[in-house]
C-alpha cells in the first residue's frame, strides 16, 4: 500500500550554550492509511519531539532536517501558510495531559466550536449540532449538556474524550496521540484505547500512538517503531516485535516490562 505519510531521515537538534543536542537522529518511517503505528521508547528517546517536528510545532531553536511527505508534499519545505492548512486539517494531535491541553476559561462547546468555525467555516447553528455529534462520537454521555461545561468540571477520562473530539473536529486523516492514556486510571484507559481503535475503524483515520507502555502497544498497534536515543532501534509488525524482538534494546525493554 502506498504510504499516507512518509518520514525520511528526520533529524531534530537543539543548540544552547552548552552545545548541540540531537534529539532525533535520522528517523525514517511510514504510515499507511488506516494504520495504527505505535512509537515506543523511554523518556528522552525523542518520541514527542519527532512527532512535533512533523508539522514543525517546535520552538525556533530547533533545527529540523529531513523530509516529511504527505501525499508527496514535503511538509518541512512548506511556507507557514501552507503548513497551517495541514495542521489540524490533515494531521491533528491529542496530547497527554487533557487538563493542560484544554483551555480552562473556555467551555467545551466554545473550544470545539472554535475549530469548527475556523477550520470548517460552519455557522453557529451548524457548529452546535456538529459539536454534539462529535461528543456523541467519542461517547461523552449527555453531550448537549456537556457543551456548557468547563474543563475542570469534567473527569479525566471525559476530558481526554473531549480532546479527541476536538482533534476529530476537522476530519484529520492522521491523528497523533502522544501518551493519550498515561495520565488516566487503568479502567478509564481501556475505554480511551477502545475509542481510538473505533475511530480508525469507523472514520478510517490513521493513528500514531506515542507511548512508553508496551501494554498499550500490545492492545492497539498494527506496527511498532522502537525509538532509542533519537534513533529507530527497530520497526516491525506488532506480533513479530513481541514474538521475535531483534534489537537488544527492544529485548531489554520487553524483559523490563515482563520480568518485573
Amino acid at each position: 500500500m502506498t504510504p499516507l505519510l512518509e518520514v525520511r531521515d528526520l533529524s531534530v537538534s537543539f543548540a544552547n550554550e552548552q552545545g548541540t543536542v540531537r534529539a532525533v537522529d535520522r528517523l525514517s518511517f511510514t504510515l499507511a492509511p488506516r494504520e495504527v503505528l505505535a512509537v515506543v521508547g523511554e523518556s528522552g528517546a525523542g518520541k514527542t519531539v519527532a512527532a512535533l517536528a512533523l508539522v514543525r510545532l517546535l520552538p525556533r531553536s530547533a533545527v529540523i532536517e529531513g523530509h516529511v511527505l504527505l501525499d508527496g508534499l514535503d511538509l518541512l519545505a512548506l511556507p507557514a501558510r501552507g503548513l497551517r492548512r495541514v495542521r489540524g486539517n490533515q494531521i491533528a494531535f491529542v496530547f497527554q495531559e487533557p487538563a493542560t491541553a484544554l483551555d480552562p476559561v473556555l467551555t467545551v462547546g466554545n473550544q470545539i466550536g472554535e475549530v469548527l468555525r475556523v477550520r470548517r467555516g460552519l455557522t453557529r447553528q451548524e457548529t452546535r449540532a456538529r459539536a454534539v455529534e462529535l461528543l456523541r462520537l467519542v461517547h461523552v454521555p449527555a453531550p448537549g449538556q456537556r457543551l456548557g461545561d468547563y474543563p475542570h468540571q469534567l473527569s479525566g477520562g471525559t476530558r481526554q474524550r473531549v480532546l479527541i473530539a476536538l482533534a476529530l473536529a476537522s476530519d484529520p486523516r492522521i491523528l497523533i496521540a502522544d501518551e493519550p492514556t498515561t495520565a488516566l486510571d487503568a479502567t478509564v484507559q481501556a475505554g480511551i484505547l477502545d475509542l481510538l481503535r473505533e475511530t480508525r475503524d469507523r472514520l478510517g483515520t490513521a493513528i500514531v500512538v506515542i507511548t512508553h507502555d508496551l501494554g498499550v502497544v500490545a492492545e492497539i498497534a498494527d506496527r511498532v517503531l522502537v525509538v532509542h536515543g533519537g534513533r529507530a532501534a527497530e520497526e516491525a509488525p506488532v506480533l513479530d516485535l513481541f514474538a521475535r524482538p531483534r534489537h537488544p534494546y527492544t529485548v531489554a525493554l520487553l524483559s523490563a516490562t515482563r520480568g518485573l
Partner: protein, 325 residues
C-alpha cells in the same frame, strides 16, 4: 488475638474526612488492616481511592478523624508531635517524585544525613560513615553525595529517596507510588533493589500503587481500595488467581498485558461510566454505579453497604454477591 505476633502496623476503623468548598469528602472511610512483620502489603486502587490518604494518616502527616493507628502495639493516633518524635525513627516514607520531595538546595548526602542529625543519633563523623554505607547499600556512587537532586537521573534520585527513608533503619517503610514516575527499565531495577533491601534490613513495607504489575512483583498481600474503602484483601497469589470483587476483576482486566496475542484474545469487563462524585457517593455499595453485577445485587446493593467479610482463610471481600465457599 493471643499467641499471635503483634503486627508492625495496625490500622483500625480509620476515617479521614476533608471539608472543601463543595462539601465533605470521606477520603478514607472505615479502613482496617494490619501490616505483619516482614511483609509487603500493597494498597492499590485508582485515583481518589484513598490510598495516599491512608499513608498520610499512618505517618500522622494528616490527622485522622476517627479510628486508631498502632505502631508495634503502641497507639500513635493521638500522640503529640513531641511524643511521636522518637517513634518517627521507626516509620519512614518514600514519595513518588523524589525531585519534589527532596530539598533542591541540599546536596543528596546532606539530605540523607538529615534524619540522623535531627534525631541526634550520631556525631558528624559517624553520620558521614552511615551515609556512605547507605549509599553503598542502595547502589549509589559515594561521589553523588556532593551532588544536588537535579543533577541526578530519575532512578538515582529515587535511590536517594530510599537511602533517606532507610538511613535510620526503620521497621516500617511506607512507599507511596515509588516507581510510578520511572521508565520501565529503571522501575524494574528499583523494585529489585527494594526487595534486596528488605531482605538485608528486614523492614515491613506498606506499598501504595495504582499499578497491578508492580503489586505482583513486590507485594505479599494486597488490599484493593475504591472510594475510601477496602473492597478486597488477599494474598497476592490468591488475588491474581481468584479475584472476587467485581472492581478487582475490572482492575485486573483493564491492565493491558504486554503481549498482543494474549491481550487481543482477552475479554474485557469494561466498567461503565466515570467514577461517581466523591462528594455524593452512591448509597449502599459505592461501586454499584459502575458494577457489571449491579442488576443481580440490586436492590440490596442500593440500600446496604456490603461489609468486608472473610470468604476464604485470609481472603476478605466487600460484596453482597460474594459469599464464602
Amino acid at each position: 488475638m493471643t499467641g499471635v505476633e503483634t503486627p508492625m502496623l495496625e490500622v483500625d476503623d480509620l476515617v479521614k474526612r476533608y471539608r472543601t468548598g463543595r462539601g465533605v469528602v470521606r477520603a478514607v472511610d472505615r479502613v482496617t488492616f494490619a501490616l505483619r512483620r516482614g511483609e509487603t502489603l500493597g494498597l492499590v486502587g485508582e485515583s481518589g481511592g484513598g490510598k495516599s490518604t491512608v499513608a498520610k494518616c499512618v505517618l500522622r502527616l494528616v490527622e485522622p478523624n476517627e479510628g486508631t493507628i498502632r505502631l508495634r502495639g503502641n497507639d500513635i493516633t493521638h500522640l503529640s508531635r513531641r511524643a511521636l518524635r522518637p517513634l518517627r525513627r521507626d516509620l519512614h516514607i518514600v514519595f513518588q517524585d523524589p525531585l519534589t520531595s527532596l530539598n533542591p538546595r541540599m546536596t543528596c548526602g546532606t539530605a540523607v544525613a538529615e534524619p540522623l542529625r535531627l534525631h541526634r543519633l550520631a556525631d558528624r563523623k559517624a553520620r558521614d560513615a552511615r551515609v556512605a554505607e547507605i549509599f553503598d547499600l542502595v547502589g549509589l556512587r559515594r561521589a553523588l553525595r556532593y551532588r544536588y537532586p537535579h543533577e541526578l537521573s530519575g532512578g538515582e534520585r529515587q535511590r536517594v529517596g530510599l537511602a533517606r527513608a532507610l538511613v535510620l533503619r526503620p521497621s516500617v517503610l511506607v512507599a507511596d507510588e515509588p516507581v510510578s514516575a520511572l521508565d520501565a527499565s529503571v522501575r524494574a531495577s528499583i523494585l529489585a533493589l527494594l526487595r534486596d533491601l528488605k531482605d538485608e534490613l528486614g523492614f515491613s513495607c506498606l506499598f501504595i500503587t495504582h499499578d497491578l504489575t508492580t503489586v505482583e512483583a513486590i507485594c505479599d498481600r494486597v488490599a484493593v481500595m475504591y472510594m475510601g474503602k477496602i473492597v478486597e484483601l488477599a494474598s497476592t497469589g490468591e488475588l491474581f488467581r481468584a479475584p472476587q470483587h467485581p472492581y478487582t476483576r475490572a482492575l485486573l482486566a483493564a491492565a493491558p498485558v504486554p503481549d498482543p496475542r494474549v491481550q487481543r484474545a482477552r475479554r474485557r469487563e469494561a466498567l461503565a461510566g466515570d467514577p461517581p462524585s466523591p462528594f455524593a457517593p452512591p448509597s449502599g455499595c459505592r461501586f454499584r454505579t459502575r458494577c457489571p453485577l449491579e442488576p443481580f445485587s440490586a436492590p440490596r446493593s442500593t440500600r446496604e453497604e456490603p461489609p468486608l467479610l472473610e470468604v476464604a482463610p485470609g481472603h476478605l471481600v466487600a460484596c453482597h454477591l460474594v459469599r464464602s465457599a
